[in-house]
């Protein structure tokens, strides 16, 4: 016998993500889901962004890490609340793990939560965390083909940062090709070229993210 089901396999994750989103909206907090490959510069971007924004906004961080708390250690000098989620081998965060740690924050006194997802361009883009938007970071040393190879993330991201722009001359990164692919996948997305370590292009990024937080 045949039994019709017609159901989203990821309903459990989606429903919990919607609960998280509703809670954050009620508390007027935005959540940024940061996605990139390992080593693209998520933690360095967070260090710089916290340094610049922490006196202006009330910020918290959720660190997704496969096994360690090294990223959280790098951020703790900034004095913002940080919670680590160890996925114990899991290649992405999901909405249930986010929902479990939210009670550790005082949501009444927060403007924004940055979630550093596990370094991976595929899996994190398929699991809604209840975020306000996704931020994609890609670096020149990874090559210019990332948007075309991982279209889901670049299609869904609300903003894209091209990091390590200071190193571009030492790589074979083809910027026209990168821009063309990105334009085909998501022609409307803002792109900022930055170097977190050299502080290049950071002001434009700080302005953009500040506007997002201020207009929540």
């Amino acid at each position: 016998m045949e039994i019709k089901i017609m159901k989203n396999v990821l309903d459990r994750n989606k429903n919990k993500a919607n609960e998280v989103r509703a809670l954050l909206m009620e508390k007027n907090v935005i959540m940024v889901n940061m996605i990139s490959s390992p080593g693209a510069g998520k933690t360095t971007l967070l260090e710089k962004t916290l340094g610049h924004l922490k006196n202006k906004f009330k910020i918290a961080v959720i660190e997704g890490d496969i096994a360690t708390d090294r990223d959280a250690q790098r951020l703790k000098n900034h004095g913002v609340p940080i919670v680590v989620i160890n996925t114990e081998g899991g290649c992405h965060l999901d909405s249930h793990s986010i929902s479990k740690v939210l009670p550790e924050f005082d949501l009444e006194n927060l403007d924004v939560i940055f979630v550093e997802n596990v370094g991976n361009l595929v899996c994190p883009s398929h699991f809604d965390l209840g975020e306000t938007f996704k931020l994609a970071i890609v670096s020149t040393t990874e090559g210019d083909d990332k948007p075309i190879k991982y279209p889901m993330l670049f299609r869904e991201a609300k903003v894209i940062l091209l990091n390590k722009i200071d190193l571009i001359e030492y790589t074979n990164f083809n910027k026209p090709s990168f821009n063309k692919d990105l334009n085909n996948i998501n022609g409307k997305v803002p792109l900022f070229e930055i170097s977190c370590t050299k502080n290049t292009g950071m002001e434009k990024w700080f302005d953009w993210i500040s506007k997002q937080i201020s207009s929540k």
Partner: protein, 115 residues
């Protein structure tokens, strides 16, 4: 390896439905994935078959259909199916589009035998 997590959720749903319908075994499973989900069918079959071992869905045959990407242009309302993941309206050239198909993870139905 998002295939693993998706397979886990799928198997959970199959077993729950099969039990509530008093099936003694599940013989077929029909699923649809949008192309944007980037499932590798062989990997998915492998994790599915590993996951159903020892359950009433062991030996269930997996029918996996990949749905192409479709979008609707917000300007001219044209609906387009694409192969090449170029998100530009072929009619008016706009990139203001709404994805209407391509990111599904759907279980359509199962087949099985009653107790």
């Amino acid at each position: 390896m998002h295939e693993l997590k998706i397979a886990e959720e799928l198997i959970g749903i199959i077993i729950q439905v099969a039990e509530s319908e008093n099936l003694k075994k599940v013989t077929k499973v029909y699923i649809q994935f949008g192309k944007m989900i980037m499932i590798v069918p062989d990997v998915f079959r492998f994790v599915f078959e590993s996951g159903v071992k020892g359950t009433i869905a062991k030996n269930a045959k997996l029918h996996l259909e990949i749905l192409p990407v479709k979008f609707a242009c917000k300007k001219c309302k044209e609906e387009t199916e694409i192969d090449d993941l170029i998100f530009v309206c072929p009619r008016c050239g706009s990139n203001d589009l709404e994805l209407i198909q391509g990111r599904e993870t759907i279980i359509e139905s199962i087949e099985g035998e009653k107790v």
